[in-house]
């Protein structure tokens, strides 16, 4: 058990260092940092002074270590475009993205599991078939089109929901939240559904096929024979056995939610880190791009690591297999 844990930790660390290396290379070698900060008209003394101060003539390995050390302390350099510290920009915008990701993940999980169970037990029902067909269309639509179509329907035609921004927000400490006001909650609905729709369909289809598989097995018949209520059978016995694959997919999809938030945030002008990243790509704001890569990379590594650990917690059989595999 501990051996598995340590090995995974070691692998995760290695990937992190690699992500940091890519991020550092972008930061250091794409465009000339000195030109970008001082502009073309800088004097030779100014340039030399800046190179000295940033340590740009040190060996590359030293600069790499310094880059990681700075990143760990939350210093990602200065944005070329706004001349503000990148860490401040990120801190300001991260709550918006995290709230959006959280709400859409909740949406995807809740509706994915419920609809998955429903379509599995009413296998040939009209409504279940309808849900399955609609979900197929939902998967084939690109994210940005879903967003645009939702805006068209709910903001333009019906006028029920706002089409951009976060609505009214409240500060809790340094966390700017939109989840406590009515307009904030209304604003998050469309982006969250847009972002979570694909994941919801994925989870729904997975739960459905796993449920169909499990419901056929003997222990379900036995549970019914014991006279357990249908609810007990479905939720305590059947659903529980579908959780391993669902956790994997849901966990790994959490990363995609963060990545696809870039698209959703642009469609809905949601002021999160994704929108910041797209603007950075457009204006070639290298420090912001490099910081975003490092941030998202770290997040992905943590998610993968956590999913691995969750396996061990949910399914004791995996632990046994590993022990047998290691010959102990």
């Amino acid at each position: 058990m501990l051996a598995i844990l340590l090995r995974r930790l070691y692998q995760a660390g290695l990937v992190l260092l690699l992500v940091a290396l890519v991020s550092f290379s972008i930061f250091r070698f794409v465009g000339d940092p000195v030109d970008n900060i001082l502009g073309q008209e800088a004097t030779v003394e100014d340039r030399r002074e800046l190179i000295e101060r940033m340590g740009l003539d040190d060996p590359v390995a030293v600069q790499y270590v310094r880059f990681i050390w700075n990143a760990v302390r939350g210093d990602f350099g200065i944005s070329y475009r706004t001349a503000e510290p990148v860490s401040g920009l990120i801190a300001e915008r991260l709550p918006a993205t995290l709230e959006l990701a959280f709400v859409s993940a909740m949406f995807a999980l809740t509706f994915g599991i419920l609809l998955g169970i429903y379509t599995a037990i009413r296998r040939d029902g009209f409504l279940a078939n309808l849900v399955m067909t609609v979900s197929l269309i939902g998967v084939s639509l690109p994210t940005f089109l879903i967003g645009v179509l939702l805006i068209w329907l709910f903001a333009v035609e019906l006028g029920w929901l706002p089409s951009f921004g976060r609505g009214k927000t409240v500060m809790i400490g340094s966390w700017e939240t939109g989840l406590l006001t009515a307009s904030g909650l209304k604003s998050i609905l469309l982006p969250a559904v847009t972002l979570g729709l694909y994941q919801m369909t994925l989870i729904m289809r997975l739960v459905r096929s796993e449920m169909l598989e499990v419901l056929r097995q003997d222990f379900i018949k036995f549970a019914r024979a014991r006279g357990l209520t249908e609810r007990m059978v479905l939720f305590r016995h059947a659903l529980r056995n579908t959780l391993v694959p669902v956790t994997t997919v849901a966990g790994l999809q959490l990363g995609s939610i963060v990545a696809f938030a870039i698209i959703t945030e642009t469609v809905f002008q949601w002021p999160g880190v994704g929108l910041m990243f797209i603007n950075a790509v457009y204006f070639v704001d290298i420090p912001v791009m490099s910081a975003y890569l490092l941030l998202v990379g770290t997040l992905f590594v943590i998610i993968n690591f956590a999913v691995d650990l969750l396996y061990l917690a949910i399914d004791p059989r995996i632990k046994d297999d590993h022990l047998k595999g290691n010959g102990s």
Binding site: P142, F144, W152, M289, V296
Partner: protein, 310 residues
């Protein structure tokens, strides 16, 4: 079961399982017709399109925002799909946009395929540290969604090329970004097949008569891994088209001077609130028809070429 006369290659092809399957899959026939029509329209754009949307002389601002199939209030001209804000004929803009979308899609798949197949063959045939290096890179890249990687490569390439060339080279940069983000599935499949093939007798025989490694990989193993590669290429084409549309929609793809379908949808979104729905709807429908048909073709190919499902 002997046939009287030896059959030509074409006859044998017509009687193959492949064609039999195709004839019995109506959805696939429709999908392939849609793809064919769209591709032909894109290739023959200058002949098919009613006007050239890039020729400023043919534009009349008075024609702006003409609804589909209705004569314009000022000039009396009628446009099948209406016009956009600049008075550009939407049908022509879509046909030329389709051209950009398909070109970027196909070129980036070629790039991904070339890179993936080469690296997969090397990893599978040579093995050892080469294999390790290539496949670990693939693993790490697979952790991140390819659209994110494409955006990142796009940004980095934009940083490298001088600012005054950015619009001119945007299409090339787009192809590189999408192509480099999608090589992993090719490499993985080719590597797996190569590992199986290289143990077979014909490869041993080829080694025995002293062929070089490169010759064995290219002439003997490569033809045997092409089936699955074709399937992945088709599915990747659908992904590439959507990735291109997404990047262009976000404003980090095709430049305004060479709008792709994604760019047109981006323009259309601006006029959603003022009621000019056609500027958004028709490019979106074209993109959907294209991506969905290519996807259906890919799915069918996957099922047909997979011996395990027979």
């Amino acid at each position: 079961m002997k046939s009287a006369a030896p059959k030509t290659r074409w006859q044998r092809f017509q009687e193959s399982d492949f064609i039999f399957d195709y004839r019995h899959a109506p959805v696939t026939i429709v999908a392939s017709v849609v793809v064919l029509v769209l591709a032909l329209t894109a290739v023959l754009a200058p002949l098919v399109a009613p006007s050239n949307p890039f020729d400023p002389a043919s534009l009349n601002l008075m024609n702006g925002f003409t609804p589909p199939m209705e004569p314009n209030a000022f000039t009396g001209e009628t446009f099948i799909l209406g016009t956009d804000d600049q008075g550009r004929d939407l049908l022509s803009a879509i046909i030329y946009g389709l051209r950009v979308s398909l070109f970027v899609g196909i070129m980036s798949v070629m790039l991904a395929m070339g890179m993936g197949v080469t690296l997969g063959l090397l990893a599978g045939y040579i093995g050892g540290w080469v294999d390790n290096l290539i496949m670990r890179c693939a693993d790490i890249q697979m952790t991140f969604p390819s659209i994110l990687i494409a955006m990142l490569i796009f940004g980095v390439l934009r940083g490298i090329i001088p600012p005054d060339l950015r619009d001119e080279m945007a299409i090339l940069v787009l192809i590189l970004a999408i192509g480099l983000s999608e090589w992993v599935p090719f490499a993985r499949t080719v590597r797996a097949t190569t590992l199986v093939e290289k143990e077979k007798e014909y490869v041993q025989a080829a080694r025995l008569i002293g062929l070089s490694r490169i010759q064995i990989m290219r002439r003997h193993i490569l033809p045997n891994v092409l089936g699955p590669v074709l399937v992945i290429a088709t599915i990747t084409l659908a992904l590439s088209i959507i990735a291109e549309a997404t990047l262009s929609f976000l404003g980090v793809g095709a430049p305004p001077t060479e709008p792709s379908l994604g760019t047109l949808i981006r323009i259309g979104q601006d006029y959603l609130f003022s009621g000019e729905w056609w500027i958004l709807l028709f490019p979106a429908l074209t993109l959907l028809a294209l991506a969905l048909s290519v996807n259906l073709l890919g799915d069918w190919l996957k099922d047909t070429l997979n011996p395990r499902l027979k």
